[in-house]
Structures are given as C-alpha cells and as structure tokens.
C-alpha cells in the first residue's frame, strides 16, 4: 500500500508539474522572449508609451465595437515604423491604414477578424478554428470588413468592396435577396406585361434555355430549367398580351409601308449606337441590337418606337419624336438588318406544346407558379406588380452566418469557412445542392471574389453608431418641376447625364453647372441639332427632333438653374485684344494643340476649340483653366497652375475663337 501511495503520489506531483509548465510555457511568453532578442529596448516604444512598457498580455478594449483584442501581445511592432523589416509577428503594420484607423480606437479584429481574446497563433483563428466564426480574412478579402461600418454604397479607399457592391446591384441580387438599403431595390429586367405581343415562343424558348446564346453579355442569369418548365413559362409569358393599345397606335400594316433605307438613315441620325451596341460597338446602357430582328415582332417594334414611355414606364430610353412613317421605316430596317436566322422550336419541345385549350390553361397556371418559384418577378414585374415575396434568403446578416450551419454538400475537401462557401456558391450556385433554384450568373473569378467580399461585410453587429459611416456620396434625384421637367423625362436626359452625381455616366458633361458653362444660343442650337464636340467618342447626343420652342425652353431653364455661384461673370472689356495675343502665345508655348484642334490643326483627345468662343462662357473657361480638377475629378487635363492673369489671357484668346470667323 505504501508503495502504491508513493508511486501515485509521484504521479500526482508530475500532473501538477504539467499544469505548471502548461501555464509557464504559453506561446505568447515565448514570443515576447523572442522579441527581446531582436530589440534590446523591447517593450519601450519610441515615444515612451507606457502601454508597451511592460511584458505581459496586452489588450485593446474597444467598447464601441464590442471587442477585446490581444493581438498586440505578440504583434509588438505593429505601430512602430522601426520594425518595418522585422520578422513576423513583430513587423510594422504595412500601409498607412493605422493612421486613419488608430488601433487604440478600432482594435485589430474589427478589420482582420480572428479571435481577439486569444493569445496563441492557433486560438487566434489565423486559420480556420472550430467554433470560432470569424476566421481571419485572407489578404484578397481584407476589404470585406470595411463594409460592416462603411454603409454608403461607395467606399473610395476600398475599391474591391465598392466594385462588389456595384456588382451586387448590377446583377440584381436584391430581386431575390433582402439586402442592405444601398443595393437599390429596382427591377432589373423589363416589365413582362405585353411580352406576348413583343416576341415569339421560339425566341422565348431559347432565351429561357440559355440567355447567353442570344446575347453574350446578357444580364439575365441562366436558370437550370427543364424543357417542361420552359414550355409552361413560355405559355404563361405568351398569355401576357393585353398591352396592345398604346396612345399612338400605328394603324398601317408594317411590312407594306416600311422603307429600310429611310430607316437606316434615321437609326444613324438618332445615334442609337450611343446606348445600344451593334456588332460589339457602341454604348452599354441598353441591350445590344445585333439579333433583335430575330426577337421582336415588327408591328410591336414600330409601336414601341412611337410610344416608348408607354412600353417602358421607367423611362430609361428617351421619347423620340418619330412619326408613324419614321417608326415603320426603322422597324423595317431593324428587322431586315439585325437578324441572322429565325428561331425555331426543337421537335422535342414541339411535342410538349399544349394540344387543347384546357391543357394550355394548365400550362399557363404552372408557368405562373414557376415564375413565383424561381422569383422571376424579382427582376421582371408584371404590370408593375410582383407575384410573390423574395424567394432567396435574407442576406443582411450573411457575414455573421455561423460556419457550423453551412452545408457543403459533397464538397468535403474544402476548408469550411464562410468565405469559401460564399465564393463557391455565387460562382456556381448548384455546387452544394443540385436542387438550388439560384440561377447561374456566369461570374468571373474576380467578380465572384468581389461579390463574396461585399457580402461578407453584411453583418448586423452591435457596433456603436459613432463607428458607422452612413452618408452616401450620391444625392437623391428629384424630377425637375414644370414644363422643363416633362421634357427632361421625355428625353430621358438622366439616363446619360448626371446631376449632383446622380444619373448616367454616358455623357462626359454633367448638367450640375452646365448653365454656367455654355452659352444660351449654342445650347439651344445644340439641342436642336447636336454636333460632335469630342470627335473620338462613339456615344454622342442623339437627335431628339424636338421643336425650337422646346429647345429654347430647355436652354433657358438650364441657363438659369444649373449654375454655380463660384464661376465669375465676365465683362467684355476685361478680355482685351492685348491679353488675347498674350493668351495665344501661352497656348502655343504649352502645346495645347497636341490634344485640342485650333485653327484646323491639333489632336483629337480633347474637344476641338475652333468655335469655343461661341460655345463656352468666359467665366467657365477661366475657372476651368485655374483648376480643372475642381470641375471634373477624373479629367486628364493638366493643371498648369495658371496665375489669374494667365488664365485671363488664355480665356481672352479662346473667346476669340468663333465659328463665324
């Protein structure tokens, strides 16, 4: 018995020794000892900061972000530049992010994730750690956490995040998923009422089968539909044919009346290519027209061109003042020119078509259900209405999803982190579950990464309000009032031009201070008959065929309302001929002609300036020359740092450039 007690006593002693050494040999203690070998002044920082003065566990408590971060227990040099070339983990934090986000205020894990409580490499979740959800972000996804606090859509310092958010909006994710407000909830595709008049079953079949076969950049994702489902949807869509009485219904039969040659002239004159691409060239705002002749019915197209805003209540496309005749000509031209071969239903699908009226009714009913099931109405409303609530799960808190609840299906060789799951899911929606109804968006690796990154930041955490950045860079657009407002909408100005950063980016001329920039007469003429200002641009202002009265009204409004108080008015006597001569010399010395055409010679990069004196206001020219970046942050125009005198001389010179001369 005594022996047994002695032996077990020794065992007990050893077990206590084990406990002692377990605490004594903690990783962070060893790391701090190693730090002492690279720097004799170990825990003393350059400014004698007491925080780093003693060895021991170091922590940053950030109550506003509900975090306690002990990362600096080992990462001892993050804030001190002298460790820029030290070995890990003592290296200085790269970049200047810590200057904007002081670790004392933000900690570490709010951005990097990982387990801030922990003081060893493994438990800090540098790599996937069981039961810890916030695995540290790899370098490629670091901008994800910016999105948790930066709630405005664009975050200039986080370009990947911004691109990801724009992609999420552009792909219409919010059609199916509840997302944060800044992913606007607008329908992405056209309203489907009247589609039965617009197109043919054969086109619908191949479109539903694979949108990219018709349009290689199609925004519509590919749903993995069976032929049965497609036939049902097709029948349902073809039954949506009630929208056939537009206000300016064309009475004539199209094919008899249309003149393709006149139509061709109208198409090029109207600058359709500014928004619609044809054979790969042209604008990206509107659908490509390469095979539109195989898609739309001629009479529908003619009626559409006469009644654009009737068919398109969101008014993206402008309302041209075409006559019946014009519309018929264009329709004839488009159907003749933009087509390859007519679509036909395969025989196997032909066999599925309903044979009787009751079968058709069943199909239509099934189609309606499928429409709701797949959430088609998330992007395509029917008479402005949705059939069902969003079909996808809510994603406002997806970044906090517990990793243990993720279903990786048969993919057992993936590290089970949330970002891996999300990346694979957006890239290939059926990867984990073949029955998933989420369609395939054909994302590139980079797009999938950026979307994953933007979604990862969607976390509903108990962060204090002072840490959240909400103000948006975009101001809200309000339709201008009165007669101008009506014209403004009719010609869909906002589709191409922006006002206060809201609106399209096709035009290089925002309207915000356009009234201070251009002269009244020029503007009026330009609205009536736009000419090319920048020879190199494919996107040009279309010819609206507006009346002189309309042009005068619009020019008048723009001159009075869209102005800036910062741009001075000029009196003619200030622009003397002496200063104009000095300006000319300066102009030639600086070699402005390498980009601008003056006196018939010069480059094509900038606008031609031979009639600039008719076009621009002297005050604008003066202000622009003084500080181009103020008026266009992305301009490539150099800022020469002109003195007031020099700018005045150049202005005087340029104002002499009049078309009449």
């Amino acid at each position: 018995m005594k022996t047994a007690i002695c032996i077990s006593g020794v065992l007990l002693f050893i077990s206590f020794l084990l406990i002692l050494q377990d605490d004594f040999n903690q990783q962070w203690k060893q790391v701090q000892q190693r730090f002492a070998t690279i720097d004799e002044n170990r825990f003393y920082s350059a400014d004698g900061d007491a925080y780093a003065a003693e060895p021991g566990v170091k922590q940053i408590v950030v109550s506003g972000l509900d975090r306690v971060d002990r990362c600096t227990t080992c990462h001892l040099g993050v804030q001190e530049s002298k460790y820029a070339h030290a070995v890990a983990p003592f290296t200085t934090h790269p970049g200047d992010m810590l200057r904007i986000h002081d670790p004392k205020e933000f900690g570490c894990t709010a951005c990097h994730l990982g387990q801030g409580y922990a003081v060893s490499f493994e438990t800090a979740a540098h790599e996937k750690l069981e039961f810890w959800n916030e695995t540290m972000l790899p370098r490629e996804l670091l901008q994800a956490t910016c999105g948790t606090c930066h709630l405005s859509e664009e975050v200039p310092a986080a370009p990947q995040l911004t691109r990801g958010r724009l992609l999420i909006r552009d792909k219409g994710c919010s059609g199916c998923h509840d997302l944060n407000n800044f992913f606007e909830d607008t329908p992405r595709g056209p309203d489907l009422e009247g589609i039965g008049n617009k197109t043919t079953p054969a086109w619908l079949y191949q479109w539903l089968k694979n949108p990219r076969a018709y349009l290689k950049d199609s925004r519509m994702p590919a749903f993995r539909l069976s032929d049965h489902e497609i036939v049902s949807l097709m029948e349902f869509l073809m039954s949506l044919n009630t929208k056939d009485s537009p206000p300016r219904l064309i009475k004539e039969q199209p094919s008899e009346e249309g003149n393709e040659d006149d139509g061709g002239t109208l198409v090029s004159e109207s600058r359709c290519i500014s928004c619609h691409a044809i054979h790969g060239r042209g604008g990206k705002l509107a659908p490509e027209l390469e095979r539109v002749g195989d898609k739309v019915r001629e009479e529908w197209l003619a009626n559409f061109l006469r009644n654009v805003h009737y068919y398109q209540p969101e008014k993206v496309m402008l309302e041209y003042n075409f006559t019946d005749r014009n519309a018929l000509d264009i329709a004839a031209y488009v159907l003749g020119e933009f087509s390859e071969e007519a679509y036909e239903l395969p025989d196997s699908v032909e066999a599925l078509l309903p044979r009787s009226e009751s079968q058709r009714k069943d199909r239509i009913e099934q189609g309606r259900k499928l429409m709701a099931k797949y959430g088609c109405d998330g992007c395509h409303t029917i008479s402005g209405k949705r059939l069902s609530p969003r079909v996808g799960p809510k994603l406002t808190n997806i970044g906090s999803r517990l990793e243990s609840t993720l279903d990786f299906g048969k993919m057992t060789d993936v590290v089970p982190t949330l970002y891996n799951w999300m990346y694979m899911k957006v890239k290939q929606p059926a990867v984990f579950d073949s029955t998933s109804i989420m369609p395939d968006f054909h994302l590139t690796d980079r797009e999938a990464l950026e979307i994953t990154l933007a979604l990862l930041g969607n976390r509903e955490l108990e962060y204090s309000e002072e840490y959240l950045v909400r103000e948006s860079e975009r101001s809200l657009y309000r339709k201008p009032a009165g007669a101008f407002g009506e014209l403004f909408e009719r010609y869909s100005c906002i589709s191409c031009h922006s006002i206060d950063k809201y609106g399209g980016d096709i035009s290089t001329a925002p309207l915000t201070i356009e009234g201070s920039k251009v002269q009244y007469e020029w503007l009026k003429d330009y609205l009536l008959n736009p000419s090319a200002i920048r020879p190199l641009l494919a996107e040009r202002m279309p010819r609206f065929r507006m009346t002189e009265r309309e042009a005068a009204l619009m020019a008048d409004y723009i001159k009075k309302v869209y102005v800036s108080d910062d741009i001075p008015g000029f009196f003619e006597y200030e622009l003397t001929s002496q200063s104009a001569d000095a300006g000319r010399r300066l102009f030639m010395e600086l070699g402005c002609r390498s980009c601008h055409i003056v006196e018939k010679t010069g480059g094509y990069v900038g606008p031609q300036l031979d009639d600039v004196g008719d076009r621009l206001e002297a005050g604008w020219l003066f202000s622009w020359l003084r500080s181009p970046l103020t008026y266009n942050a992305e301009t490539i125009h150099p800022d020469y740092g002109f003195s007031e005198e020099q700018a005045k001389q150049l202005t005087a010179y340029l104002m002499t450039k009049r078309g009449a001369q």
């Binding site: 018995m1 084990l18 387990q115 243990s404």
Partner: protein
C-alpha cells in the same frame, strides 16, 4: 544537532498555538492515546473500526467516496471560477473566453470543473447502481437511499444549471431543449418552464436564475443532504455488508487494554457494533484511510492529466436566431430526448416522473431482507434484472442520442 532539533520540536509542540491545533500531548499515556482518536477528524467522519467486507475495493469500488471527492473538487474550482465569471448575457461568454485565454491556470480550472462535473454525474449513478445491486438499501438503510435519490437529483440539477453558464451555442440550445422537455407536462408544464427560465425563452432571466441555483441554492442543498447521508451511514452501523457469522458476543474493555479504541466500549448504542464479531472488523486508520488516500491521489492525478490535455467545449456565442441542427440537451438527458422524439409525453413527462417516484419507492417495495451486501445475488434475480434492464436501456438510449443522431434527429453513424 539532534538535541538542538529536539529542543525546537519540544518548544514548538509546547506552545499555545500548537496546542490549539492538537489537543493531545505526546503519545505516551492511555489518555493521550485516546485523545489521538477522539480529536482526529478522519476518525470522526469514519468510525474507528469498519467491517472487513466494506473496505474490499470491489465491494464499493469507492464510488460514493469518489463522488464526494469530485464534489469537493467542484466546490474549490467553482469558487475560483466564480471570481472571474459574470452572469450577464453580454459578459458571460467573454468572461469564459478570458478564463480560457488569459487567466493564469484558468483553462485548466475550467477543464477540471467541467470534467469533474461530468465525472460526478457518472460516479453518482454508478454508486446508486452499486447500492442497488448489493441490496445495500435494505432496512435500516431505506431512508438513506431516499436521501441518495435527492443527491442524484441535486447532482443533475447542478450539472444542468452549470451547463448554461458559458452562454455559448452549446449551452444555450442544450438548455432550450432541456427546459422545453419540462414543458411537455400537462397543465403545469409551461408554468414550470416559465418559472425555471424567468421568462418564455432562455435569456438574462434564465441565466441569473441558473447562476443562483448553481452557485448557492443547489450547493447548499447538496451539503445539507450530504451531511444527512453521511450521518445516516454512521447511524445505520456503517455501510452495508453481508450477514455476519461468528461470535456475536461483546468484547470487554479489558480485552484490549493497550488499544485505545477500546474506550469506545463505554459508549452505548449502535456504535459499539464494533465490539461484536471482532474477527469481521478492521481498523479504519490502517485499512480504510490509506485506500482513500490512494484513491484520492489517483483520481486527482487523472483529473489533472485529463484537464491538461482535453479542453472543455466552448462553441460560438449564444445566438437565439441560429438553431443548430440537431439541438441537443445535455448528454444525461439525451435518452429522454430520444424518447421525446417518439413521444413527447413519455420522454418528457411519464418516464422522468416514474423514474423519480420509482427510485424513491424502491426501498419500501423491495423488502425481502435477504442477500444484503452481496453483489448480484441469485436470490434477487428479478429486481436486479429489472433494474439492470432499466439502466442498460437508458444507457443505450443516451448513447444513441449522443452519437447516432444527426440533423433533424435522423439516424447517423459517427464514423
């Protein structure tokens, strides 16, 4: 050297402080020998002599003692953990993270507390089985069995209330499931759950209630019950054993003039059973205490080793919005949860109620008074088989519920 040492020893032992600790003088007179016994705490928890049968390791397997040892470990580690733990839904999880990561020896302490708690549930149940299978609850020990049943309930109550305290997903959902089983009882079920949780869901109300029960109410009940339990063991003549055969006459004091335990002979009452059947009795100090010391050392060393190498679980912070699939009750309730899967009434109400009532009634129904103190006596085949079947089936159900049930409580294989 030697005289010097002796002088100092004498000075030390003659001082007031020493004498306040040890009441007896040098062991050189009968009076002092008797004082050694009467002032020894171990020999007051135990009788001076115990039955030879009862100190055989394989008779008790030390399960009762082991349970008490684990309880002591739990009290000590629990007090230390309580220095750091904050019973608030916003701070509880964080304080556990602190204990695990930066409190000196905190991780080991928490591991010891966790593993000792699981161990105690197991040893208490096994102790009950031992008592049943040796028919140790027979008259006059019926009431101590009843106390034992309440001790079992207290143990499970302590474990269950402690389960919630880390406030992680495991804790939150185990308690959600565990308490929802209580609500299956007709009429009063929902009320019971409401009172237990201090609300309709597991929240701050539940956490503070469980904390108070875990740290104050149940330990106090446990200590009170333990005192009665131990005291009854002594009053019932030590732990049970087989019918004694031999010479039942009393020993006289003069028979062992040099043995101080003989002084016990002047005490009337059942305690002097020590004097009957002298050939069946052995000295506690030499036969029981060393075994207890050895068992204690081995148990603590084993607990230390387990606690160094195996960490107590701690999952993600509790999130009422995210239900794990499957959500499981603490392991000792998984047999019931398995039954709830088939019938909520059976698993949630009938079986637990019948188990407790049945256990309380056993000593008053099973009263044939034969084969006491004998393991698995053939003469007690029927009760042993019934009880054995009950224990085995509960064990099987717990194993199935623990290892063979996956998402949606579907059957899975753990390998």
């Amino acid at each position: 050297m030697k005289p010097f040492l002796e002088t100092w020893v004498r000075r030390l032992t003659a001082g007031r402080v020493w004498k306040s600790f040890f009441r007896h003088g040098p062991v050189n007179t009968d009076l002092n020998r008797s004082l050694v016994i009467t002032s020894n705490v171990a020999l007051h928890l135990h009788p001076v002599k115990v039955r030879r049968d009862s100190v055989r390791f394989w008779y008790t397997i030390g399960l009762g003692g082991l349970s008490f040892l684990l309880f002591l470990v739990l009290v000590i580690t629990g007090i230390l953990l309580a220095f750091y733990y904050v019973p608030s839904t916003t701070l509880a999880y964080r304080s556990i993270k602190d204990i695990d990561n930066v409190v000196s020896y905190g991780r080991i302490l928490r591991n010891m507390h966790r593993w000792a708690a699981h161990g105690m549930v197991i040893t208490v149940v096994l102790h009950m089985c031992r008592v049943f299978f040796t028919y140790a609850f027979a008259n006059p020990r019926e009431f101590n069995w009843v106390i034992g049943v309440f001790l079992l309930l207290s143990t499970i109550g302590l474990s269950f209330t402690g389960y919630l305290l880390p406030w992680d997903q495991l804790a939150y959902w185990a308690i959600t499931v565990g308490t929802s089983m209580a609500s299956y009882a007709p009429v009063v079920g929902e009320k019971i759950r409401y009172v237990l949780l201090g609300g309709n869901v597991v929240g701050q109300g539940a956490l503070i209630r469980f904390y108070v029960l875990h740290c104050f109410v149940l330990p106090a009940a446990m200590i009170g019950l333990l005192a009665v339990h131990f005291w009854r063991v002594r009053k019932d003549g030590g732990i049970s054993g087989p019918q004694l055969v031999g010479t039942p006459e009393r020993e006289t004091v003069t028979a062992f003039p040099s043995k101080s335990y003989g002084l016990m002979a002047i005490v009337p009452g059942q305690d002097i059973t020590a004097e009957r059947y002298p050939e069946h009795y052995v000295l506690t100090w030499t036969h029981l205490i060393p075994k207890e010391v050895l068992a204690t050392i081995i148990a603590i060393a084993a607990l230390n080793l387990v606690s160094v190498f195996f960490n107590a679980p701690l999952e993600e912070l509790a999130d009422p919005r995210v239900t794990p699939n499957p959500a499981k009750a603490p392991w000792y309730f998984l047999g019931l949860q398995e039954l709830v899967h088939y019938s909520a009434l059976v698993g949630g109400v009938l079986l637990p109620a019948l188990t407790v009532i049945g256990l309380l009634c056993i000593p008053y129904l099973d009263t044939r008074r034969e084969a006491t103190g004998v393991w698995l006596s053939r003469r007690r085949l029927v009760p042993n088989v019934i009880f054995g079947l009950f224990v085995v089936s509960m064990t099987v159900l717990i194993i199935v519920g623990t290892f063979f049930r996956g998402a949606n409580w579907a059957f899975v294989t753990p390998w």
